[in-house]
Symmetry: C4
Subunit: 276 residues, 4 copies
Amino acid sequence: MQKMKSKFDAFRQKINVIIYGTNTVYGRLFDLVLLCVILLSVIIVMLETVKSFDAKYHSELIILEWIITIFFTLEYVLRIISLKKPWQYIFSFYGIIDLIATLPMYFSLFFAGTSILTVVRALRLLRLFKILKHPQFSSQSIHLKEALLASRGKILIFIYFMLISSIIIGSVMYVVEGPAGGFTSIPISIYWTIVTLTTVGYGDISPITPLGQSIASAVMIMGYGIIAVPTGIVSAEFANSHRKKLKAEKINPCATCGTDGHEFHAKYCFHCGTEL
Amino acid sequence: MQKMKSKFDAFRQKINVIIYGTNTVYGRLFDLVLLCVILLSVIIVMLETVKSFDAKYHSELIILEWIITIFFTLEYVLRIISLKKPWQYIFSFYGIIDLIATLPMYFSLFFAGTSILTVVRALRLLRLFKILKHPQFSSQSIHLKEALLASRGKILIFIYFMLISSIIIGSVMYVVEGPAGGFTSIPISIYWTIVTLTTVGYGDISPITPLGQSIASAVMIMGYGIIAVPTGIVSAEFANSHRKKLKAEKINPCATCGTDGHEFHAKYCFHCGTEL
Amino acid sequence: MQKMKSKFDAFRQKINVIIYGTNTVYGRLFDLVLLCVILLSVIIVMLETVKSFDAKYHSELIILEWIITIFFTLEYVLRIISLKKPWQYIFSFYGIIDLIATLPMYFSLFFAGTSILTVVRALRLLRLFKILKHPQFSSQSIHLKEALLASRGKILIFIYFMLISSIIIGSVMYVVEGPAGGFTSIPISIYWTIVTLTTVGYGDISPITPLGQSIASAVMIMGYGIIAVPTGIVSAEFANSHRKKLKAEKINPCATCGTDGHEFHAKYCFHCGTEL
Amino acid sequence: MQKMKSKFDAFRQKINVIIYGTNTVYGRLFDLVLLCVILLSVIIVMLETVKSFDAKYHSELIILEWIITIFFTLEYVLRIISLKKPWQYIFSFYGIIDLIATLPMYFSLFFAGTSILTVVRALRLLRLFKILKHPQFSSQSIHLKEALLASRGKILIFIYFMLISSIIIGSVMYVVEGPAGGFTSIPISIYWTIVTLTTVGYGDISPITPLGQSIASAVMIMGYGIIAVPTGIVSAEFANSHRKKLKAEKINPCATCGTDGHEFHAKYCFHCGTEL
């Protein structure tokens, strides 16, 4: 009994290294295979929604989808087995995603599949964000993340300002334009304001009265101008984190006079001439 | 009589703390309730303009609106009562907004309500900008405001340049395209130019002659390129205010005279000449 | 005779001060009147092209336009008289603009007015760019101009790159999409590419084949991404000119040890401690 | 025989200088002629696809195209002859482009020309990118290239993030909107998401349900906001390369060991310790 448990432990260890490790050959191979299967599964979900394609290859898509579902089920079970504290994985963000994305196919055995169930499988895609934690990209993505986090406060205020402005401008446009130009209600007018402020400009709704077009022009110029605000915030933050990095690399103080700010390649203190 | 006045003063004091204070529990609760009621009132205004919704729940919306109007009337009266110099509030920006946003419902008792009266109530939303003065956000929003104020001059020149360019390009497009492509008058052509320059691009009016399309292409590239100008201005201003803040943090004060702001490599105080 | 000439000289002097001066009361008043008349004349040109308005007020517009034309004719003559070397003005950029913008009305006496002649009068608007040379705005507009001039080379290369890319992508889309989606010729496809790359997106032409939509998606992401390039160039240039200005303000070298970079308010050299 | 070979070598030398040189008069003239012929050939390809123009001038276009094809054939042969190691050119990027762009006309003798063959000739345009290596532009374009290369990693992560987000948002919109609003399949929904995220906004597909419009609004604000990310990255990189250049210019070399790059306030060489 003891022996069997130790054997199982060894097996669990092995699987753990393959599934969670990124340093061994098998670990990397597993990551690569997983990546391909995820992409394949998402492509299948997409193709199923293309009527003309689904009509021709319906059965092939279903078979492929079942193979993939079994693969993910197996992976899910192995992930749980290979951990000492499986609950940590099961109730983690990715654990829940994995479960939710795998279940729909089994449901479809019992219920007529709705389109929502089909699409839920596309959530698997979220797992691809994990790649950004891979050592190769992590330094870059951490840099990105830090700059965005640092400018979070200002960007939230900016979005808050934009939303309130959109509601006010939308209300005004509803009064000015009225239903003739497509501004049938305030929510629709707010939708139009956001479409215009962000310079997307679908053209499904557009003002037709001279006054409405004048206000619209002002909104466009405003939208065109205030894009400078988030951009400026993030730019300054990036430049700032750059500078911080440069500064952090330059401390390196002199033992004699205490002057710091020496470059890495400096051999003598630039202030007192002592060897560093 | 004296006693009654002092009692009233105490009452006024209490209300003042609740309405204007942000440090007491009741003050914060009042702010929160106010925020919710404002949002609710704006949502009601929006829903009233959605025909299908209004048809079903017209009486419920009216009742809710009356409850909210009475709440705001009470708040308005209490604000006036709680101040020693009520005129300062009544003629302040927010005082006038509060009054204008509350009156429409009372007017609707005597006159058949027009859509303008309905929408005026959405002005209450302007009060939400007050939140940006809240201590939690104020440092961020002051930073934003300063950078925008510092670049105000350049941005005004930029908008002036864009407006004149729009009129000239609009006039040229009116001659080149004519009514066939929708360019029925110069004001409409100017509207099209702004729609294009700001990269909004509704598509309700678009050039159809080869020459018109060539000019339009040039306008688009121009619009795509000159967005760099406001962005560059604001970015530089943000970076600048960042640098100023960093400088202010490099205190490094002099022990003799207390002047701070010495650079790291400084050996003598630039103010009194003592060795640092 | 001599006396008459000297009298004329004094008159010329007076007019010169009013027309070209910006420091006297009359000079400023003249500038302001001129600004208003230019704006009025441009508004009239605009309104003449609005059919519904022109039908009602045609004669009033013509009368106003003649008053303005006589005003500008007088101004043109006075400008020439008030200068010692009138040719310098007549053949200057603004001199030619003034003449071209004034002539159309006189032509319309002899020929049936065409729309081109009408619109040529809008060229008067170019004179409004002169305002940017006004002392109040000049420091800001010089700053803008310098930063744009400094980034001119890079922006030209960027536009060159964008144009060639547009032609190549346009040619590819012509082959891929064909006339069904509106891509009837390569020039039209290039027009579409520019509309898409600059994120304007009219929607008058849009791809309908899956391959075309995939390429379009790539073009959009490219256009969305490379807007960073001109913005980055101009931002860096603005930040740079900022830094230069800051540096120029800080030279101020020490007489004893030669160290520079002292702030304006520094009283002692931060390096050797001598009084500055 | 020997003499003939040496004569051929001299001829080859001469051609080589003309074709590949950029310093002699003939070399520059050749570059200019080549530039004009390439532009002319591309304009002809364009005009051939404009039905109305091609109908009128079909034979003239064909004749011009044959003249240009013979010119490019001759150029191709001379380029090969003038090199000692012709294979280096033949299998280089531009060598293959030159060949592919010249062949279609010869094919059209034997086969009925398809539109693909016509357009392949537009590939000649790629040769225009060579101009950016010209000394006059190279310093600027190298600067651009370096800043873009330095931000490559972050921009790839950004595009990766955008693509996955597009797929997820597209799937959600497919479920929410359905075929009524034009969201007929997930790939089409993804196409719509990219059109919206990049603020292009054709309007060929646009949401019609309130929920869909709400999600669309969120996507627009997201797209409007995250454009700050690539812009911020590139801006910071440009500012950084600016700073590097400024540093490189602050030579201030050491008299003893010749090391440069000392800061202005340095008193001793950081490399050999001698007083500066």
